[in-house]
């Protein structure tokens, strides 16, 4: 074994969906012009924020649970190799098979092969971010296998040939009239007299998908958690499409990032309290399924678990950034983010939007100095709201600052920026390093705009261009995002 193969590797670009085709400011500009999107996002994030605050407020030991969640995840990362081996042993002992994938292409090959081995031409899918990350549906389609998304929002996205814009409510950018149109145009056998009532639309999706559930032999899922000491897998959901996929087909294939692990069964008692309240703002989500390998006479009799790296080991190698792997994908940080609330998820270009996307995507793909994902760490005002709501206390602002510094380093190393700009970036790095300094720099941005020649401003990288591009500033901002946030969003607690 050569040393080279021991080194963590970034996710290769060109397969899957970890990087968009334009930088955040460029993509945000398009999103900001969409009035429908902005008003949908505003009301959605406000609604979920209020629900979350309400149910979190009734948990007396919320902070203790957060600290436990943070520590469980940190200790998982510190022994990830042995815990994965333990998970593998327990899954196999209970009748499952475990496969390992270095990257997206390898995971897609494995899953495609497993589906082909069953002879199936169709699969049903439970909403899963990781299979979006690796572009599994496209890979299956290339092999002549049709994948049906079964989560209502994912179905809307799939039928609308669209991309998800939120972790929890992926079709949040669509309103009922648009969804009805999508159903009428794209859903085979649709009842053409349907109204745009959400209950009617959901009923139509039920009718359409039930047939698929009853006839499809292979299901593909992600996993919210895996338990090393028992080999148990978990899917947390609302609609019951997850239960359908985990119960009715003969074969179940679960694709999971290597970080979605907890050491022991009782560790889940922490996350089963943290996740639903942070995510949908419910005391508990309607359905959670847990399963361990294969249960004779109940559910799929063939179970495959695919463990995926795809840049996670590279993230794990970074002392500051590895916290990003603690994420339980609750989406609370999206809903409190003043930047996300305006741009929505598409602007982030990756499967992972919002503050978590801003720290995860560039770490999975790597910072190159001039890559599209290099712009993501700047898609934030560092207001700190994301850290306050994160159920596992990921210090997103600190990781953003660190990634900005790494971006500058990468750019320097690549020598792709002229020295004048390098100087400006160094200034930016200094400003980012201290919270107070950054706030001052934000307030000073408008002044700088007038005191420097216009051409220089244009060539400055994102933090400053963001103010002009995404806020359409003819004049210096009267308020920074941080000031605005403080006045608009009184802490509900």
């Amino acid at each position: 074994m050569s040393d080279r193969t021991n080194l963590p590797v970034y996710a290769p670009l060109g397969v899957g969906r970890l990087q968009g085709d334009r930088t955040f400011p460029a993509a945000a500009k398009i999103a900001l012009a969409d009035g429908q999107l902005r008003s949908n996002l505003r009301s959605a994030t406000a609604t979920i924020r209020a629900k979350r605050a309400n149910v979190v407020g009734e948990v007396a030991d919320w902070e203790e649970l957060r600290r436990a969640g943070e520590a469980i995840k940190a200790s998982t990362m510190a022994s990830l190799d042995t815990l994965l081996i333990e998970l593998e042993r327990n899954v196999v002992a209970n009748g499952g098979a475990v496969h390992w994938a270095r990257d997206a292409a390898e995971a897609n090959r494995i899953v495609t092969g497993l589906v082909q081995a069953t002879g199936a031409k169709q699969v049903v899918k439970v909403k899963s971010m990781v299979t979006q990350e690796i572009g599994l549906n496209e890979a299956l389609a290339a092999a002549g296998i049709e994948a049906f998304e079964t989560d209502l929002a994912e179905l809307i996205i799939q039928l609308g040939h669209d991309e998800p814009s939120h972790i929890l409510v992926p079709a949040i950018h669509r309103n009922r009239a648009q969804i009805r149109e999508i159903f009428l145009q794209e859903m085979p056998g649709v009842d053409r007299s349907i109204s745009d009532e959400p209950a009617v639309l959901a009923g139509e999706a039920r009718r359409y998908l039930r047939k698929k559930f009853l006839e499809t032999k292979v299901a593909i899922s992600g996993a919210n958690f895996a338990v090393a000491d028992t080999g148990t897998l978990t899917v947390v959901e609302s609609e019951g499409n997850g239960r359908m996929c985990l119960t009715l087909p003969d074969t179940l294939i679960t694709v999971m990032g290597i970080e979605k692990l907890v050491p022991t069964w009782t560790d889940l008692e922490v996350f089963f309290q943290l996740l639903p309240r942070s995510s949908t703002g419910e005391r508990m989500n309607p359905y959670t399924s847990t399963w361990t390998g294969v249960t004779p006479g109940d559910g799929p009799q063939s179970f495959h678990l695919v463990l995926l790296d795809n840049g996670r080991t590279a993230t794990l190698a970074d002392e500051v950034g590895r916290q990003a792997l603690h994420c339980i994908r609750c989406s609370a940080c999206l809903n409190v983010c003043p930047v996300y609330e305006r741009t929505g998820g598409h602007a982030y270009g990756s499967t992972y939007p919002g503050p978590i996307g801003a720290i995860l995507s560039p770490q999975l793909t790597g910072l190159t100095g001039d890559g599209v994902n290099d712009s993501l760490p700047y898609a934030s005002t560092l207001c700190g709201a994301c850290f306050d709501v994160c159920p596992v206390r990921i210090d997103i602002p600190s990781i953003l600052v660190d990634l900005r510094a790494r971006h500058v380093e990468a750019a320097k190393a690549a020598s792709r920026i002229p020295s004048g700009e390098r100087l400006a970036m160094a200034g930016v790095g200094w400003a980012m390093a201290g919270e107070k300094r950054w706030q001052l720099a934000q307030r000073g941005a408008g002044v700088l705009r007038h005191s420097t020649r216009r051409t220089t401003i244009r060539r400055l990288p994102w933090p400053l261009s963001r103010w002009t591009a995404s806020r359409d500033l003819a004049k210096p901002p009267v308020q920074t995002f941080r000031q605005w946030w403080a006045t608009e969003h009184e802490d509900p607690s």
């Binding site: 074994m1 021991n6 963590p8 009301s43 203790e64 649970l65 469980i72 940190a74 990830l80 209970n94 390992w100 994938a101 079964t150 989560d151 209502l152 929002a153 409510v169 079709a171 949040i172 309103n175 969804i179 959400p198 639309l201 959901a202 039920r206 559930f213 009853l214 028992t230 148990t232 609302s238 609609e239 019951g240 499409n241 239960r243 359908m244 119960t247 009715l248 290597i258 069964w265 009782t266 008692e269 922490v270 089963f272 419910e282 005391r283 508990m284 989500n285 309607p286 959670t288 399924s289 847990t290 399963w291 249960t295 109940d298 559910g299 080991t313 590279a314 794990l316 190698a317 590895r322």
Partner: protein, 212 residues
């Protein structure tokens, strides 16, 4: 010789975590809570489940009442469901392991089960596939799920449930009927799971031997 993906990923992890430290996990969160049936009822109603409360002798009557109110024509039950609970004037088909999803599909189909644990603070019912709970298919495909909760199954908080449950069994945690908020965040009950959840909470009868 080519190195396997497994060995390569594990080697990458080992080189990545050399600087990682494992903190002690603070376990000072609440280890549990006292069972509180009133709270359980409140939570279930909040999820828009239909709640009946009765003495053990009233279970069969409560099932009939629920079935008639919901227009259920075909009733199913898993093996191991106490025959004394089953209404004598209704036919209840017991799953013999051969029922298919198609057999159970229909808006007039209801299934009667009990549960393994019911959690008051979150209004959650957990099924573990044991006697009286059945295969997962059985409580998934029918449009109506009638679940009987006995006093000894009721626990206070989520950690209490974890102490009782066996992770090797397939577990289904149910908190209200199936729901979605995917369209304009409007809550709609019932997408793919049972659209109607009826919970029959059996009251503790002093002196009875089914008490905890």
């Amino acid at each position: 010789m080519t190195i396997s993906a497994r060995d390569e990923v594990l080697a990458r992890i080992r080189s990545a975590i050399v600087t990682a430290v494992s903190p002690d996990v603070p376990r000072d969160y609440r280890a549990g809570a006292a069972a509180d049936v009133e709270l359980l009822v409140d939570r279930l109603v909040d999820y828009r489940a239909i709640v009946h409360r009765c003495a053990p002798a009233g279970i069969a009557g409560a099932i009939i009442e629920a079935a008639d109110a919901a227009g259920i024509d075909r009733l199913f039950a898993p093996p191991g469901l106490d025959p004394a609970w089953q209404p004598s004037d209704r036919h209840v088909s017991i799953d013999d392991g051969t029922l298919t999803a198609t057999d159970l599909d229909g808006n007039d189909v209801g299934v009667i089960t009990t549960c393994s644990v019911a959690i008051c603070e979150t209004g959650t019912i957990v099924l573990d596939g044991g006697p009286g709970q059945g295969r997962r298919l059985l409580t998934l495909v029918p449009d109506h799920h009638i679940c009987i909760v006995l006093p000894e199954q009721v626990v206070g908080a989520v950690p209490d449930a974890f102490r009782r449950l066996d992770p090797r069994r397939p577990l289904t945690w149910i908190s209200g009927p199936s729901a979605t908020s995917d369209i304009e965040l409007k809550r709609v009950e019932g997408v793919h799971g049972p659209r109607h959840l009826v919970v029959i909470i059996v009251e503790h009868v002093p002196g009875s031997n089914s008490a905890p």
